[in-house]
Structure formats: structure tokens, C-alpha cells
């Protein structure tokens, strides 16, 4: 062939530029969903509070001040003080770091594990599929909180153990989701085309199947975050999650329970924090699903 085409100088950058253009289109469509934007704002607020807690806090979250026990919300204690006189506002701020830590730990471990197990299971099929799915079934059969409880009770209380316990219960849905996508994708023409070129199953799973599972997994992740926060709060409430004096929101509700009638702010404020953050993640997840879910999207 004598045709000499003009080769692009830096193909990798051009590909990245193409992907960036796609991302910008995605962002523009996302911005048209007002509830999704609200959810995003809440999540960003959470990240902001966690990042700048030391700057935003008015008091030391751990320092008790017994003279100000159960103080009502005032100019000094913006959201009141708890049973040891610690400023609730500051504890909420520092607690956001813990919330993010737990959510982050769980998501970063459970989603990839579930994704890989599901993608391999769905693509390869056969006895691999059977074994993986039966293991998944076992984990799915037990109620999540109960299983997390059992693990934490066995491993001992503490925030990292709580995160680990929640991870062990959180991965199965991702496996199921990824497997469902993989079953569809593995027989599609574009995968067959690459198979015909001699691609190994490994290459197909990593580069072709998994990218197609990502949309569903990402959507699920945002919904899961709300659930994880609630489970962690639940564990904290029972005393098996974060241990005192850590300002974990669930633990704060637990201790505030005793004063709920007269000093309602001790339990209610962390409750509102949990509610708002869960709501934020749910709204974000809803908007993302409307944009990403391959089943809802129109065929172009």
C-alpha cells in the first residue's frame, strides 16, 4: 500500500482527550438532574467537612468539660454539648472522617472483590461459575447486620474490624451484578470478534467484560454507601463498632439515647447527620443510575 497516512504524534494523549470529551458530555447531562446535583453537593460537603475538620471545629472533640455537661445549643456550643461536655458540632465534623473511613474501606475492598468474582464467574462459566455462585449464595443467605455482628464479635470491636466485617457482607451483590452483565457481554459480537483474533479469556475478562460491568457496579456502590453508613452506625450503636471516645455518629446516638427527652440534641444531631449523608448518597446514586444504567439508556 503506497498511501502514507498522517500519523498522530501522541496517540495516547488523543485517546485521553477523547475520553475527557465523553466525560464532559456526561457531566453536562448529570447537571440537568437537580436532585442528583443536590446529592452531589451533600457528598462534597461531607468530603469538605472531613478534610477540613480541624479548621472548622470550634472545640477539641475529645476534651471533656464536665461543667458544660448536656449544654443546650448556644453561641459557644453551636449544636449543644454531650454528656461529657464535648461540643457536638466538632464531634460531628470529626465523625465525618470516621464515616468516610469506614465507607471508603468497605467500598474499596468489597466492590473490586465482587466485581472480579462475578466477571470471572460469568465469563468462564462451568464449574467455576457454580462454585463461586454457591459461595456467594451462602453469604447472601445470612442477614447483613447479623453476619457483620458475628464477625465483629469474633474479631473484637473496633473501627477497622467493623469495616472488615461489613466488607465480608457487602461483596456478594456486586458479584451477582457483575455476573449478570458478564453473561450478556460474553456472547456479544464485539467480544466474539476479539476472541476470533486470538484473545485469551483473561484479556477478554479484564479488558472487555469488566469495563461493561463498571456502570452497574458504580451505581450500586453509591446506593451501598448509604447502607454501609447505616450498618456502621448500627454496629456503633450496639457498641461493636467504633469505640469511645471516637466521635462515630452511631455511637453518639447510642450514648445520647438516655437523654433523648430532655436533651434531644445529643442523639438527634448525629441522627440528622446520618440521614443527610445517606440521602445524599442515594440521590447521587439515583442520578448516576439514570445516566449509566445500560438497561435504561436509549440505544444510540
Amino acid at each position: 500500500m503506497s498511501v502514507t497516512p498522517d500519523l498522530v504524534a501522541d496517540p495516547k494523549r488523543a485517546v485521553r482527550a477523547a475520553r475527557w470529551a465523553e466525560f464532559k458530555i456526561f457531566t453536562r447531562r448529570f447537571m440537568r438532574n437537580p436532585l442528583g446535583v443536590v446529592g452531589l453537593v451533600i457528598v462534597v460537603l461531607l468530603l469538605f467537612c472531613a478534610a477540613f475538620a480541624p479548621l472548622l471545629a470550634t472545640h477539641d472533640p475529645y476534651l471533656p468539660s464536665l461543667t458544660d455537661r448536656l449544654a443546650a445549643p448556644s453561641a459557644t456550643y453551636w449544636l449543644g454539648a454531650d454528656e461529657l461536655g464535648r461540643d457536638i458540632y466538632s464531634r460531628i465534623l470529626y465523625g465525618s472522617q470516621l464515616t468516610l473511613l469506614i465507607v471508603g474501606l468497605v467500598i474499596v475492598t468489597s466492590a473490586p472483590i465482587g466485581l472480579i468474582i462475578g466477571a470471572v464467574s460469568g465469563t468462564v462459566g462451568g464449574w467455576v461459575d457454580v462454585i463461586f455462585m454457591r459461595i456467594t449464595d451462602v453469604f447472601l443467605a445470612i442477614p447483613k447486620l447479623l453476619l457483620a455482628l458475628a464477625f465483629v464479635a469474633a474479631l473484637g470491636p473496633g473501627i477497622t474490624n467493623a469495616a472488615l466485617a461489613i466488607t465480608l457482607t457487602a461483596w456478594p451483590p456486586y458479584a451477582r451484578l457483575a455476573r449478570a452483565e458478564a453473561l450478556i457481554v460474553r456472547n456479544s459480537d464485539y467480544v466474539n470478534a476479539v476472541r476470533l483474533a486470538g484473545a485469551s479469556e483473561f484479556r477478554i475478562i479484564v479488558f472487555h467484560v469488566i469495563p461493561m460491568c463498571l456502570s452497574s457496579v458504580i451505581v450500586r456502590m453509591t446506593f451501598d454507601m448509604a447502607g454501609i453508613i447505616l450498618t456502621a452506625a448500627g454496629l456503633g450503636f450496639i457498641g461493636l463498632g467504633a469505640q469511645p471516645p471516637l466521635p462515630e455518629w452511631g455511637a453518639m446516638i447510642s450514648t445520647g439515647r438516655k437523654f433523648i427527652f430532655d436533651q434531644w440534641w445529643v442523639a438527634t444531631v448525629p441522627g440528622i447527620a446520618i440521614f443527610t449523608v445517606s440521602l445524599g448518597f442515594n440521590l447521587l446514586g439515583d442520578a448516576l443510575r439514570d445516566l449509566l444504567d445500560p438497561h435504561l439508556r436509549q440505544r444510540k
Binding site: 500500500m1 498511501v3 497516512p5 498522517d6 500519523l7 498522530v8 496517540p11 488523543a14 485517546v15 482527550a17 477523547a18 465523553e22 456479544s188 459480537d189 464485539y190 467480544v191 466474539n192 470478534a193 476479539v194 476472541r195 476470533l196 483474533a197 486470538g198 484473545a199 484479556r203 472487555h208 469495563p211 461493561m212 440505544r299 444510540k300
Partner: protein, 239 residues
């Protein structure tokens, strides 16, 4: 180039292809015509190794498909799929998808060859960085052809290559295929339900019905009306 003897293929419980034999000479364009369920697409997919339950013999360029490793076969025969909207991976740019067969098989300088292929199919090198959803159906089908040609195969299997396309786009793609066959010396096996398309594209054709071959004839026979079977006559009348 392609020799099929007494092929029987079982697909989801029933016999999709029954005792079918035919052969294709190098440089020839051979057509498989029939209605849905006749087994024509199944034959192509079996040659490419996408169906496992078959018996009989299939040999491509002298290679027995059962005994030849996939990568070696890939350099001799490739396939273009029917639906341009699902034969390209939605998440990768065109250039990456055309280059992938070359990368898998360790061919040097895939970027250069990708650009050459894009010029060859009439799209131009700047299409490398577009995503499939940015292209029309006709453009996508061209990309699918480019990808099939990436490994320089001698035999191209085309499964209803223009059925999903508008009539005016079909004309462009058929012209392109004919040009490529002449320029690159390719052998084609084309499957279609459209007798007019097959008659235009192929020198010889085989009519299939209900998993079995009905008759094999040349283009001249088709045009002159020297047809043995009534079913074939019915197909012509309905075309």
C-alpha cells in the same frame, strides 16, 4: 480456500445444519442464501469456531480448523458481523479496537497499520479517536471490516453485512467490499437473505432451507433462470 464436508451442527438442542458440503476457491466470492433458521449463519459461526457441537470436516486454506490453534487460524480467516451497533465495543475508541487484533498477535507498528486500514475503508486516520456511538451504522460497519482485515486474512466471512443498514449505505458498503476483494485478492463467503445482494456480490451461491442445502448454482444460472428447485424459484419471485 474453504472446504466443508458433511457438516452437521447442533445448536440449542436441534440440528441447525444438516449434512452440508461445499467448497470455495481462492479469490472467489461465494454466497449462502436462505431465510431465517436455514442454518446459513450457523455455518459461518462454526467455521470461526464459535459453535462447539459439530461433526464433519472444515478446512481453511488447507488447515483443519479442529486441529489448528486459534491464533494461527485468525491470520487466515476473519468474520464481519451483522449488526454494526453491537459488533464494536462501546467503551473503546475505534483505533484501539482495530489495533487490538494486531496487539494480541504481536504485529509490529499497529498504529501505522490502523491508520492505513482506516484510509483503506474510506474513513481516514482521524476517526481513530472516535467512539462507536459517534459513528453512523455504515461507518461502524466499515470499521468492523477494517478490524477484520487487521491480521491480513485471506478469507473473509460476512454474516449479513448490510442487512441492518439503509439501502443507500448498503450500496456504499457493497462497493467497498468489491473494491477490497479486488485490491487485496480476498476470498469472500457472504451470508444473506437478500437474493439480489448475493447475486450482485457472488459468482456462485448455495440456497439453504431448514438446515439443509437446496441447490448450488452460479450467477449465470440464476440470471438465466436455469433453476432446478421450486424453492429457489419462489425466492426469486419474492425478491
Amino acid at each position: 480456500m474453504l472446504s466443508i464436508q458433511h457438516l452437521n451442527v447442533e445448536f440449542s438442542g436441534k440440528l441447525a445444519v444438516r449434512d452440508t458440503s461445499f467448497s470455495v476457491e481462492p479469490g472467489e466470492s461465494f454466497g449462502l442464501v436462505g431465510e431465517s433458521g436455514s442454518g446459513k449463519s450457523t455455518i459461518l459461526r462454526t467455521v470461526m469456531g464459535l459453535n462447539a457441537n459439530w461433526n464433519g470436516s472444515i478446512s481453511v486454506d488447507g488447515l483443519d480448523v479442529r486441529k489448528t490453534p486459534r491464533k494461527q487460524l485468525a491470520k487466515v480467516v476473519q468474520m464481519v458481523f451483522q449488526d454494526p451497533y453491537s459488533s464494536l465495543h462501546p467503551r473503546y475508541v475505534i483505533g484501539q479496537q482495530i489495533a487490538e487484533p494486531m496487539k494480541i498477535n504481536g504485529i509490529a507498528n499497529p498504529e501505522r497499520r490502523t491508520a492505513e486500514l482506516l484510509e483503506l475503508i474510506g474513513l481516514g486516520a482521524k476517526f481513530q479517536f472516535r467512539f462507536p456511538h459517534e459513528l453512523s451504522g455504515g461507518q461502524r460497519q466499515r470499521v468492523a471490516i477494517a478490524r477484520a482485515l487487521a491480521l491480513n486474512p485471506k478469507l473473509l466471512l460476512l454474516d449479513e453485512p448490510t442487512s441492518a443498514l439503509d439501502v443507500s449505505i448498503q450500496a456504499e458498503i457493497l462497493n467497498l467490499l468489491n473494491r477490497l476483494r479486488k485490491e487485496l485478492g480476498l476470498t469472500f463467503v457472504i451470508v444473506s437473505h437478500d437474493l439480489a445482494v448475493i447475486s450482485y456480490m457472488c459468482e456462485r451461491l448455495m440456497v439453504m432451507r431448514n438446515a439443509q442445502p437446496v441447490e448450488t448454482l452460479t450467477r449465470e444460472q440464476l440470471r438465466s433462470g436455469a433453476i432446478a428447485e421450486d424453492y429457489t424459484k419462489a425466492l426469486i419471485a419474492a425478491a
